[in-house]
């Protein structure tokens, strides 16, 4: 995902940022914004909300930097991102101005062809799959979705997820287990529902 800066450098940046050095903090932002935004997007399923959550997370992170006592910056900032995502979800719950269907945006189709050798059909199919997965994620309970995004999209370990989401290892395990099973069922149902279906790729 993102390319975290060497830990020594990161410590120096954190120390400088703690003293109010915005430029130093912005270096950390550059290192982690791709990860933060990706997590937020997968949790929220909306580009706008993900942007809000990400910006909010970095602002909050800068303000709360004095509470950061060493350790890795990544889980710390991801925890803030997650909390901002929960806040966004609360807002959406309180003001359900948009129908739930609109939450699944067509953003996946806007992706530019990254691999010039990829056939247009394959590209379209990949985007369809991405859309289906995002829709399946959106259908999951929030807690399971958060864990699933961190584990399966961003490859975090159970330990990391437990510390980021402030729950026990066992909770991470069970949420992930249930979330995966539900997502699988969702994708299978999608494949059966649609006439031509998705060709689910083998691992």
């Amino acid at each position: 995902m993102s390319t975290p800066s060497p830990s020594g450098n990161e410590e120096a940046l954190v120390a400088a940022a703690k003293n109010g050095d915005v430029a130093a903090f912005n270096q950390l932002v550059l290192d982690y914004q791709q990860l933060a935004y990706s997590v937020a997007y997968r949790i929220l399923g909306s580009e706008d909300k993900a942007m809000d959550a990400t910006q909010d997370a970095f602002l909050r992170g800068f303000k709360a930097l004095h509470q950061f006592h060493g350790g890795a910056f990544k889980p710390w900032i991801l925890r803030i991102v997650t909390n901002c995502c929960y806040d966004q979800l609360r807002v959406a719950q309180r003001r359900p101005t948009t129908p739930i269907d609109d939450l699944v945006e067509d953003d996946e189709h806007s992706t530019i062809l990254e691999d010039p050798n990829e056939l247009p059909e394959d590209h379209a199919e990949r985007q369809d799959l991405a859309r289906a997965i995002q829709a399946g994620l959106n259908a999951l309970p929030e807690d399971q979705r958060v864990v699933l995004v961190m584990s399966d999209i961003h490859g975090m370990s159970y330990d990391q997820i437990a510390s980021v989401t402030s729950v026990s290892l066992g909770t991470v395990k069970s949420r992930l287990s249930r979330g995966r099973a539900k997502l699988r069922d969702y994708l299978l149902a999608q494949r059966e529902l649609l006439p031509h279906g998705y060709r689910l790729r083998n691992a």
């Binding site: 995902m1 903090f25 914004q33 997007y41 991405a130 287990s177 995966r180």
Partner: protein, 357 residues
């Protein structure tokens, strides 16, 4: 035997089904992993389950990275501005709540002044009997209490002075007796006097004459209400709470009554108190005027009539009712707090405005 094996299989199956996900992730301990693995070899259901889960994970992993719509770096220039604004904002937030608190406290102070004579607020069992036994207090204390003294004496019912029983609480007496000078920090000084001090009684005589003499000299046109308000406004000066008490007719009568009873009940031999004693002895006798003043004499006459009624000697003990004490303490505390908060708000306003420049 078959039953047992079947049961074991079911248990293993349940365990495996619950742990397939963690098995996939390599998050199982060695023993658990071996158990799942062993079960997988003989269970087609679990095999297909783990396959489908693996496929799902692979699909999730294959999701393309979302391109960043924009950069999220914080604006360099805006940051200090924002911080300053935030500090100012925080100060404003504090001041808003502080203002509310001050307002509430002032309302409490003023309303207690208004309610105190109406019976809505508990009156002490024995209203402040004016014992002029204040000579024991240091002169500074007296001056500090002077505001309240002024208040009490400003009140038209100066009979309170005349009818002070011997066994009264020195705090009351002192408030009344203190020469009136303007000293802003009355409340703090007044606080420690809540308990009757025997010292004050012992030295009563000297203070008495002087104080009684001084009493009539203060006659501001305003009654106790005004002083109460002034105290509220000044914030920290709410302490000498007794000052206005005499300002209310009802209270005054009650006081006088109590005072007389007091005298009847306890002769307090340890207080020789010549001047005071003279005053007090005269009050129970119907028509004898007090030697101090016409006004005083008139006032003194009132209580004596009431005193002739056979009132039960409830007030014989010099203890205050708990309700009354609580009320006093609340008022005192709110006065002090209101003053402190006002000072704080002023200071904050000043500093934050400076920070803005």
């Amino acid at each position: 035997m078959f039953e047992l094996r079947n049961l074991q299989h079911r248990l293993n199956h349940r365990f495996a089904a619950a742990n397939l996900s963690a098995f996939l992730d390599g998050e199982l301990s060695g023993r658990d992993r071996a158990r799942v693995q062993r079960h997988l070899q003989g269970c087609a259901t679990c095999q297909s389950e783990v396959e489908s889960l693996r496929e799902t994970v692979a699909q999730l992993r294959s999701l393309p990275l979302r391109p960043l719509p924009r950069s999220f770096v914080l604006p360099l220039a805006a940051q200090p501005e924002q911080r300053r604004y935030r500090r100012w904002h925080a100060a404003q937030g504090f001041m808003r709540s502080a203002t509310v608190a001050v307002t509430l406290m002032l309302v409490l102070l003023l309303s207690s002044d208004a309610l105190i004579g109406t019976g809505a607020v508990p009156l002490p069992d024995m209203m402040r009997p004016r014992q002029p036994a204040t000579s024991s207090e240091s002169p500074s204390e007296r001056t500090m209490l002077s505001q309240d003294a002024a208040a009490g004496q400003a009140a038209p019912e100066s009979e309170v002075e005349a009818t002070a029983p011997v066994s009264g609480e020195p705090e009351v007496a002192s408030l009344k007796a203190a020469p009136a000078e303007d000293e802003p920090s009355a409340s703090v000084a007044a606080a420690p006097q809540a308990e009757p001090t025997p010292m004050a009684q012992a030295e009563a005589p000297t203070g008495a004459g002087e104080l009684e003499g001084a009493a009539p000299s203060f006659s501001p046109p305003e009654g106790a209400y005004v002083t109460g308000e002034e105290r509220g406004g000044a914030g920290g000066m709410g302490g000498g709470a007794e000052g206005y008490g005499g300002g209310y007719g009802v209270a005054g009568e009650v006081e006088a009554e109590i005072a007389v009873e007091k005298m009847a009940a306890e002769p307090t031999p340890e207080t020789p108190a010549p001047t005071v004693a003279a005053l007090e002895e005269e009050t129970p006798q119907e028509d004898s005027a007090t030697p101090v003043e016409d006004d005083l004499a008139m006032r003194a006459a009132e209580p004596t009539q009431e005193a002739s009624e056979p009132a039960p000697l409830v007030e014989a003990s010099p203890t205050l009712s708990p309700m009354w004490i609580v009320w006093r303490v609340v008022r005192l505390a709110s006065g002090v707090l209101a003053g402190l908060l006002l000072v704080l708000v002023a200071g904050l306003l000043f500093t934050s405005q400076q920070a803005r420049l």
